[in-house]
């Protein structure tokens, strides 16, 4: 019977271990020619922001979509919305606006403003007004999926300069009603923006709530758990407000938090629900 060559087997295993150790630890494969999907999360955010800025400049949606696909997000809309919210929270209104615009466009909605040079009120908007009676937007966190896919690289399509979309019709008031619901926060202003034909909610719409001595800018779409076209603010009692969509349309004046009555006869500050539609 032939003897098992233990020495050779041990030498093979030792060599294998050394080879693997060298290949994995001491001299791993050097990464060059990486694709955007393997970038660190913060660099991906920056890449996504630049895609949105580029889209804001040229309105080339197919190209923006192709570029977003390179990042390997499982849901580009959610990634854009979440990042827009974070940008707004950090005070970068321009980036938030651009990200929200691209998110809107991904949903098949025309931009609410001309895409180039978004330096108007959106860029200057501050999430919190600087006056004493500033309404405070409730803070929220948007859940979004961080899971990463690694799609095959498809070259970015070469430019196709698409014409700018025609200006969207201004928003008009569909519904305005006081809501007496004790489960809602007192003085809550709920705003929805929808399309008139199929009542799809429209995110990324900038709203301006003004009162004597100040105004507040806020956007729809930052609470997708409630609705993509939903935004809210808090109305202080005894303050008269006006509300309008920044891109134009109906201006609602004389708004105030309604007074409601509980079953025991006590009064409390109710909320207000307003729905704008785009014809």
């Amino acid at each position: 019977m032939k003897r098992i060559p233990w020495e050779a087997i041990l030498a093979l295993l030792l060599g294998l271990a050394l080879g693997l150790g060298y290949a994995w630890i001491f001299s791993p494969v050097r990464v060059v020619d990486a694709v955007p999907s393997v970038l660190r999360a913060d660099f991906k955010d920056q890449y996504r922001a630049v895609i949105a800025a580029s889209y804001a400049a040229n309105s080339d949606l197919p190209r923006a979509e192709a570029r977003l696909a390179l990042l390997g997000d499982s849901d580009s809309y959610q990634s854009l919305s979440g990042q827009a919210q974070r940008a707004l929270a950090s005070g970068d209104a321009l980036q938030s606006y651009q990200l929200a615009q691209l998110a809107s466009a991904l949903q098949g909605l025309a931009p609410t403003m001309k895409s180039s040079t978004p330096t108007s009120s959106a860029a200057k908007a501050s999430p919190v007004a600087e006056t004493a009676i500033s309404p405070v937007l409730p803070s929220t966190s948007t859940p979004f999926d961080d899971s990463i896919l690694f799609p095959e690289y498809t070259p970015t399509p070469r430019p196709t300069r698409t014409p700018l979309p025609p200006p969207a019709a201004p928003f008009e008031l569909l519904e305005q009603e006081p809501v007496c619901d004790e489960t809602l926060a007192e003085g809550l202003l709920q705003v929805f923006t929808i399309t008139s034909n199929n009542r799809r909610q429209i995110p990324g719409v900038e709203l301006i709530l003004a009162w004597a001595g100040g105004e507040e800018h806020f956007f729809t779409g930052f609470k997708p758990e409630i609705g993509n076209g939903y935004a809210d603010a808090t109305l202080s009692p005894d303050v008269i407000y006006s509300l309008r969509v920044a891109s134009g349309g109906t201006v609602l004046t004389g708004l105030g938090a309604p007074l409601c009555t509980r079953t025991n006869g006590e009064t409390y500050v109710g909320s207000l629900k307003i729905t704008f539609y785009r014809p």
Partner: protein
């Protein structure tokens, strides 16, 4: 003598197999990479996006900050990469002129208010 020859041969074969497996069959997976590792066409496309945004925004400080993702080289130098790469990647004349104007503007750019790209 013959036995040691087999041991040496097995050891060498083991190293060879280990390297083959570790480098070719199952190399280390890399995630969380930095932008410097991006392939040239992705780098150029990123720079082109920054140039397109700059064309509308006219904010050189912001453009320079966006380019700083690629390191501490002068922004004009970083942007020049795309200008050199563009012709080989069939960039359109309008894209090349956008990049050219962008690089020109960056050459005369000085960081304002302590902004370091």
């Amino acid at each position: 003598m013959k036995k040691w020859l087999w041991v040496i041969l097995a050891f060498a074969a083991g190293i060879g197999l280990g390297l083959l497996y570790g480098w070719a069959i199952d190399p280390v997976d890399f995630v969380d990479l930095t932008p410097e590792t991006l392939r040239a066409d992705f780098r150029a496309d990123y720079i082109l996006m920054v140039a397109e945004a700059y064309e509308a925004e006219h904010d050189l400080d912001l453009a320079a900050r966006r380019l700083a993702i690629f390191g501490s080289n002068p922004p004009a130098e970083i942007a020049s990469e795309a200008l050199q790469f563009g012709p080989s990647a069939d960039y359109s004349p309008s894209e090349l002129s956008t990049l050219e104007a962008f690089v020109q503007d960056l050459r005369g750019w000085q960081p304002s208010s302590g902004v370091t790209p």
